[in-house]
Amino acid sequence: MSHYAYFVAGALVLVGGFGIARSRNLVHATICLSIAQAGTYVLLMAVGYQTNAPAPVFGSTAKPTKQVVDPVVQSLCLTDIVVSATVTALLLALSIQIAKRHDTVDPDELVALQG
């Protein structure tokens, strides 16, 4: 069971993909995309984890040492979380525009490139 974290990460990505494909509402699909992205964050953080190691922040009580959790993957996740939230905002703005133009947010009813 030492690979449980990787299993959870992969399951989140697959569940998110399943949600997007099965969705009947564009906003629902956008939120499922966030779930899939969260799966990738869990995978990255799981790769960087070391058992019984502290966080990579040093101070007066935590002397600089090499036995900390990997800070490189944390830096990747950190900026990615904020930036992908703004990309989610872009997708929601797209959904609003589609609702205004086509009166529906059901992907099955949106026939592409129609007038």
Binding site: S2, H3, V57, P71, T86, L92, A93
Partner: protein
């Protein structure tokens, strides 16, 4: 393709991806192992550059170019969303509909937490190189803290205390400031975004060179970007309405 056929295809795809991923994940180092080569190089470099928070050092110092690109992505998606949320020709502004009563405890909580959250946001931004935090986190805290005005008060209160043009300028200044500070690196030692100020002692307020400055710049940019984004969403949801010919009841709005 019918929906059932699509679902079968989806199932096949998910199973295929799942099997490939499982085979790959079994080859990864086991969860919690001590094999982290990037950490063994990054943490001593962060300490040598005087940053007590190794993650912030990596984000703004060792991988500063990646952060510049991420910031530009943020800037671009805010521009895209604002462009998409422009009022269309048929939409007219009507004032926000009169809100229901806000509960007194909510109002008290909002008015107590608003200055607290703003101060915490500024603290998280400025101490990003010493404690967990930084420009990205502090910027979002500042922006969402400001919207406690909407939760505890009314939309008019938020509108009065949130000059959107100022925040649009703030976002542009933040995005440009990061790029321009990189050029200062070229002027001193021939590499873009070099950390050219003195590193100081670990744990002091003015340490880690350009990292606190970049933190503040990114904090301004992220906070302004999120406020502008939410302002456009609020405009669409609260202010604008569509005049439809099929509705016989006249809209109760006036043009602002």
């Amino acid at each position: 393709m019918s929906r059932t056929a699509r679902m079968w295809l989806l199932g096949l795809g998910l199973i295929g991806v799942g099997v490939c991923y499982a085979l790959a994940a079994l080859d990864l180092p086991s969860f919690g192992s001590t094999f982290h080569p990037y950490r063994d190089m990054a943490v001593p470099a962060a300490v040598a550059h005087g940053a007590a928070n190794a993650v912030t050092s990596i984000v703004f110092d060792q991988r500063g170019l990646d952060t510049l690109v991420e910031e530009i992505i943020l800037f671009g998606s805010v521009i895209g969303a604002v462009a998409l949320l422009r009022p269309s020709r048929e939409e007219q502004e009507h004032g926000p509909s009169p809100m229901g009563r806000v509960l007194e405890p909510t109002r008290l909580l909002g008015y107590v937490m608003l200055p607290t959250t703003l101060v915490i946001g500024v603290d998280v931004v400025t101490h990003g190189h010493l404690t967990p935090g930084g420009g990205f986190q502090g910027g979002v805290i500042l922006a969402t803290g400001l919207h406690l005005l909407y939760v505890a008060g009314s939309y008019q209160a938020l509108d009065r205390l949130r000059p959107v043009a100022l925040f649009e300028h703030g976002e542009a200044i933040g995005a440009a400031g990061f790029a321009i500070l990189g050029i200062a690196g070229i002027l001193t030692s021939a590499a873009y975004l070099t950390n050219m100020l003195s590193y100081g002692t670990l744990g002091q307020m003015f340490s880690a060179g350009t990292v606190p400055i970049l933190n503040a710049i990114v904090g301004v940019e992220v906070a302004s970007g999120v406020i502008v984004l939410l302002a456009r969403f609020f405009d669409q949801a609260v202010l604008l309405g569509h005049q439809r010919e099929s509705i016989s009841v006249p809209q109760p709005g006036e043009l602002r």
